[in-house]
């Protein structure tokens, strides 16, 4: 079975190469080819998963060394894969959701001239993401990490004729660069410290201690913080969160696949994978939970104020990943739950985004929720699937989000002490706010009266209609996942047991009973839903947004994150470059140019001496001879 592992990456990579290099011949068949490549990869993943099920816990991890990448004495970098219980979860999520979204895109991008290229980029993304989760060393992981960044850049800016999309792509790339810098420095530190890139020697495997177990805490804290910086960039966590909202400029399937289900969760994967380092660096863990807690509230608040349906969902994504990071920062009591929430979130958030895309498809690309309303009668399938995703994300009892979020809140309390209370209450508040903004999205979009606006150019009212079946089928599958995945994972603690050999597991000592936490979560959720119903369900929603409180206005501007970045980073940065440019052009260039001009002027004058007339040379010779003779005579007489 080992030899199947490289094929997981190879299938979408070959698809990408074929589509991007194949030329116009593939314009018609391209979308289906891309979908086929993704489905093939999913089939391989499924085969490997079934094979893995047949083996017992400790023997499940597979290793496959493909070739030696950089064979230098004392610096060994291999292209080798590791497929363990954690990787296979990601593989199935990436290829499964990826295939569905490929299928959805066939319908969604049907009228786009450049769809072949779009599918090529999507395949490229799948290949890079699979490389990221399958790598068995940090250097190869970094290749995947950069690869998904590239694919994300290309896809956010896919409609590059729109300046806003081009800018958003650049913004995402640059903000991610800050995080990538953290990862590259962390990898260098690990290499100097442990002498290897591979997970085994660094993190230690079952029974054998790795380098991390022998290193000092200070070093581990530094590595942990750098890894956290990397995770912040890729997963849009505070303080590197500002790119995710703008990334919604990309086509909606991209938002669903990359900026909701898979790529943005790479940070959670990185932290979970590097658990052995974080477990031994409590300070770094504290930083991780702090980032998670702040982001889950930050994203939720932003999500409450946005009128753009995709940006509201983007705020929600940020917030839900905040939950995962929080759980991952809790150590062994939280890793499995972080990944569990990641998977359920992958289902319902991808489903929600696809639903949003379907709504936009029917409403002539309108994104403002204040211009929706009453769509449940016109788009029944979208309504039901979106509704199930909605119930899952707010944690309605029995659906996926309920199980996974509840576990995280429980684990947050279980950290113990004051910290546990603070984190638990943050997570609870987050749950209430999540319920509020998602109910708001739901009510604004599908309920109430029609607030459809005529097209400003043609003056036509939109005619919402249900989307084609290539779009609705993936939505239905994802909705089924959002309903049942959480229950399936919690049943008999199967998910926990599955991941335990990789991540380890510890029971915390929660000050509250699990049932109390569940009840509290449900009460918070109901409070959020109720508040949203009072505000948006009972009275008609104004088409132009009201002025709102200062908090609302700040949240509409993403809680002033861009203003902050602009004032603190961009302005001093451009001031610095301006002064450096001034110094360079006036100071350095001025000196060099002045010197050159002086020498040039002097030589221009000196050149006049060379007249070309033999007699003038003769005269100077005579002059010189006379001078010599006179000097000799003078010296003699003295």
């Amino acid at each position: 079975m080992n030899s199947l592992i490289p094929l997981l990456v190879a299938a979408p990579l070959a698809g990408a190469a074929l589509l991007l290099l194949g030329g116009r011949r593939l314009d018609r068949s391209g979308p289906w080819l891309g979908t086929l490549a993704a489905a093939l990869s999913f089939a391989f993943g499924l085969a490997l998963f079934l094979d893995m099920l047949g083996r017992s816990g400790e023997e499940r991890a597979l290793h496959q060394r493909l070739f030696s990448w950089i064979p230098v004495n004392g610096f060994q970098a291999d292209v080798s894969f590791q497929l363990d219980q954690l990787s296979i979860v990601f593989v199935l999520l990436i290829t499964g959701v990826g295939t569905l979204i490929h299928l959805y895109s066939v319908g969604y991008m049907a009228h786009d001239e450049r769809r072949r290229r779009f599918f090529g980029y999507l395949n490229l993304f799948l290949a890079a993401m699979l490389l990221l989760v399958l790598a068995d060393n940090y250097l190869l992981l970094y290749v995947g990490w950069e690869g998904v960044g590239l694919a994300s850049y290309l896809l956010i800016g896919f409609w590059q004729h729109k300046p806003s999309a081009a800018t958003a792509a650049k913004k995402a790339f640059i903000v991610n660069r800050v995080g990538d810098m953290g990862l590259s420095i962390a990898i260098m530190l690990m290499f100097t410290e442990f002498g290897s890139f591979a997970f085994g020697p660094i993190l230690g495997s079952e029974g054998t201690a790795g380098g991390a177990q022998q290193a000092g805490e200070g070093k581990l804290t530094a590595i942990g913080l750098l890894l956290l910086l990397a995770a912040c960039g890729k997963s849009a966590q505070v303080p590197l969160q500002s790119w995710l909202g703008d990334a919604m400029e990309g086509p909606t399937p991209v938002s669903a696949l990359i900026h909701a289900a898979t790529m943005v969760t790479a940070g959670v994967y990185l932290i979970t994978r590097s658990g052995a380092i974080f477990n031994l660096a409590p300070d770094a863990q504290t930083a991780v939970v702090a980032v998670g807690a702040v982001t889950l509230l930050f994203g939720a608040i932003v999500g409450c104020a946005k009128d753009d349906i995709k940006k509201a969902l983007a705020g929600s994504t940020m917030s839900q990943i905040g939950y995962m990071v929080l759980a991952a920062g809790l150590g062994p009591i939280g890793y499995a739950f972080a990944i569990m929430h990641l998977v359920t979130h992958g289902f319902f958030k991808a489903g929600l985004f696809l639903g949003a895309g379907s709504v936009m498809h029917g409403m002539d690309d309108e994104v403002n929720m204040r211009h929706y309303g009453a769509l449940r009668k016109y788009m029944p399938v979208t309504f039901v699937t979106f509704g199930l995703g909605y119930l899952a994300i707010i944690g309605f009892p029995g659906l996926s989000g309920f199980f996974s979020k509840d576990k995280i809140i429980e684990a947050a309390f279980a950290r113990g002490g004051t910290e546990g209370w603070i984190l638990g209450l943050c997570a609870l508040t987050g749950a209430a706010v999540t319920a509020f903004y998602m109910t708001r999205v739901m009510l604004l979009t599908f309920f109430g009266e029609k607030r459809w606006q005529p097209d400003p150019e043609t003056g036509e009212e939109p005619h919402p209609h249900e989307s084609p079946s290539t779009m609705t089928v993936p939505m239905i599958v994802l909705a089924i996942g959002s309903v049942f995945a959480g229950g399936l994972f919690t049943l008999n603690s199967s998910f926990l047991k599955w991941l335990e050999p990789v991540t380890g597991h510890a029971e915390g000592n929660s000050p509250l009973q699990p049932l109390t936490v569940t009840l509290l979560t449900t009460v918070c959720m109901l409070a959020g839903v109720g508040l949203a119903y009072l505000m948006y369900g009972r009275s008609p929603v104004p088409v132009t947004p009201p002025v709102g409180s200062p908090l609302t206005r700040a949240a509409r501007r993403d809680l002033l994150q861009d203003d902050f970045n602009h004032a603190v980073l961009v302005r001093p940065g451009s001031g610095l470059t301006a002064s450096l440019v001034y110094l360079d052009s006036k100071g350095l260039d001025g000196f060099v140019n002045g010197l050159a001009a002086t020498i040039g002027g002097i030589s221009g004058r000196l050149r006049r001496i060379q007249t070309g007339f033999a007699r003038s040379y003769a005269l100077s010779m005579f002059g010189g001879a006379l001078l010599l003779a006179a000097t000799t005579l003078l010296m003699r007489s003295v």
Partner: protein, 99 residues
Amino acid sequence: MNPVNYLYLAALLFTIGASGVLIRRNAIVLFMCVELMLNASNLALVTFSRMHGNLDGQIIAFFTMVVAAAEVVVGLAIIVSIFRTRHSASVDDSNLMKL
């Protein structure tokens, strides 16, 4: 006869030759002026030899004559070839070596 008079004559000849080199443009005349200067110095050398009573100056004068003969051969050849290509023996026309 006082040998110093020969020195005066040599100085006079040298001055004539030098001013000829500086003033005249015809390459042949220039050449003759150079010869004049060489012979003026020969005269001075022979005179010094006589005044000091040894042969050093006369030997150097022989050297000078040999050098002058060789110089005439090369110099005249150059002048003739320049005249053939440019149809002029003016030294001012041969000014290509300036910038």
